[in-house]
Symmetry: C2
Subunit: 389 residues, 2 copies
């Protein structure tokens, strides 16, 4: 399932001819976003382990790793299996284990994949150990550490940390290291707060690793990450790897956090005007939540972008024009309340691009990326996405 | 692409063995919901034209029409083409036309499908006429009427109504009738308000049809619908057909509106416990927004259900246990604020079912339905869904 070169296919080769709604990916912006974080981590001597949950595409992964596949993070075992089929061998499955995922992960390991899984309880350690024995492999797991109360994991000072590690050793599970995710950083918006969140993420992960090492465990990996902290972390002493996913595409939430500009956002949804309600200040388009997702991640930010920020077909933002409402296959474009800008005059059939609140959620609504470059209306390739669990 | 009988396949045949997250469809509840609205419309002599945007599955459609395919509504031309391939001949595409959809709809009509499209402007009428001439067919369109300010369409008293009709006649487009959708009914919650919304929807559609007939147009179809108004409309004088979609599955939003009970909700997401945070009152499961969707449709209702209401694996609701937060592949279960109920004791690996806020959005996150009956843990069939545009 490799991306299709348009030249060899019969698909629409320009934006003007593309049926809508359709997902666009600006390869120039993607490449620039990839280079930015990659050089940032290289400068700090930290391995970047990109999260494939956003792109879910081998063609996107091949922009990250142009020649040899490198380390990746995955959010589902379907992703792990998909990327394994495409030659990736080193992956971290960054969601807490269940019985069925233990067995399935160990089948991948049996097939030669270096897969590290995640746990934070003695029950999971025992379960994983049993799955490893059944498959005839030694499982390797990271202990999930909670650095900001966001989700799962143990705090660095939790006495259970060494209990879990002991249970891993007892169950025959290799303690690969610790992993934390500063998910609360998505709610921040100042550089100072982001730098502090990144430092806290680092400090907590390193402290947890030291606790485990003091208890006699090897704990080689100290894995941290979120797109905001990856871009604001300065000192990464003690950290061995950084995970981030949405940075490849960026989105309006990341723009609101202050990690990117709207010119960095690499994906958008192409839509067509299908109606007008001038008396209400509305333009109707054929991209509703099925194409944009229901994500309203900017609702809690200072600039609420509705269901997305609207650009012309070339990608230039219409100031303050947002998707104010969405039903399944309809979007309503309106000027943001309080704006001095007028509604643009867009006839029936005109095309617009809509920048998404949340790249992971919007991309998931589509089967493929229509790949464009920043300065051309030609569609250069179509890259399929994988889905499911 | 017909649904697979489990007996003949190798897939998990019980809920206990099913990998999670997974979409479940209770066929008994589906059949009951279908029968309820079908008999309601039969009693009123109104054709039911079910909307396939919720199910997006030929196997679901075959529960609606057990023998001969009947009239349907679709939200995309991909749905139209899919159902046409499966023998459906009479369909209404209930989204305003664009140039590319005009051409594509006319190709379906040329292939023998009776497809009625939707418009509300002279520009669309001219565009459709041209597409019909290019395809060598006579297009048939419904004029979109706005009964409640929800989205597109012309009000019944808008002078443009006869202008659009004249443009249709001029362009060689058959005026099939009028169509309205009481989308604002989703925001209501009392029987009196719902009855009033249904009566308003009826009255506006009939008035618009009378205006067109008085201007000399045939206007045979008077099409109304939304799941709430379909269930609360009493008198449907002058209406020829009712459209509804989400009634097949129902969901928590419809429960909040007062159209169904939680025992009527036919789809749910099966999830597995992957972690616990007793100090926070949290249980972590492996169903996040990727499995549940980002839809927060109950947020504005008196009972905010978070990202879904949690049931045990047999489908019995845990009182006040909701998915309080969701990230891509994680859901956090917590007892609703203010509830006297305790967090249930669910071990790692335990399975739960999550009732969705919005069936259309949640089902769209999945590739297939795992079909169960109400009183059994056996998975009887797997029904694929279609997607895309």
């Amino acid at each position: 399932m490799r991306g299709t070169d348009i030249q060899s296919g019969k698909a629409a080769a320009t934006l003007a001819a593309l049926a809508t709604p359709a997902l666009l990916l600006d390869r120039d912006r993607l490449d620039r976003n990839l280079a930015r974080l990659s050089s940032r981590m290289a400068a700090r001597g930290v391995v970047l382990r990109p999260h494939m949950k956003t792109g879910k595409s081998i063609d996107v992964a091949r922009r990250v790793y142009r020649s040899v596949p490198g380390p990746i993070t995955v959010s589902t075992l379907a992703e792990a299996e998909y990327f394994a089929q495409h030659g990736f061998r080193d992956m971290t499955y960054a969601v807490g284990l269940a019985p069925h995922t233990s067995d399935r992960a160990m089948r991948l390991q049996k097939a030669g994949i270096d897969i590290k899984v995640l746990l934070d309880s003695p029950e999971q350690a025992a379960m994983l150990g049993a799955a490893g024995r059944a498959a005839g492999v030694t499982p390797s797991a990271l202990v999930e550490i909670d650095c900001d109360g966001h989700r799962g994991g143990l705090t660095a000072t939790d006495p259970k940390l060494v209990v879990v590690a002991a249970a891993m050793a007892e169950a025959g599970v290799k303690i690969a290291g610790v992993l934390t995710h500063a998910g609360e950083s998505y709610g921040l918006s100042t550089p100072a707060a982001l730098v502090a969140a990144a430092e806290s993420e680092r400090a907590v992960a390193v402290a947890a690793a030291m606790t485990l090492r003091a208890a006699g465990h090897e704990c080689r990996v100290v894995s941290v990450g979120s797109t905001p902290t990856a871009h604001f972390a300065d000192d990464l002493t003690g950290v061995t790897e950084m995970r981030a996913g949405v940075y490849m595409f960026f989105d309006l939430v990341m723009h609101g956090v202050g990690v990117c500009t709207t010119d960095d956002i690499a994906i958008s949804v192409l839509a067509t005007v299908i109606g007008k309600k001038p008396e209400k200040g509305w333009i109707l388009v054929d991209a509703g939540w099925m194409a944009l997702s229901r994500d309203r991640g900017t609702a809690a930010q200072p600039a609420d972008q509705g269901y997305g920020l609207v650009c012309d077909v070339a990608g230039k933002v219409f100031p303050d024009l947002i998707v104010s409402q969405a039903s399944q296959e309809h979007g309503i474009l309106a000027v943001r309340p309080g704006s001095a800008h007028a509604l643009p005059d867009l006839p029936i059939g005109a095309k617009v691009r809509i920048l998404p609140n949340h790249a992971c959620a919007t991309a998931a609504q589509h089967e493929l990326y229509n790949v464009v470059s920043s300065d051309s209306a030609a569609i250069e390739a179509r890259w399929p996405r994988m889905r499911g669990w």
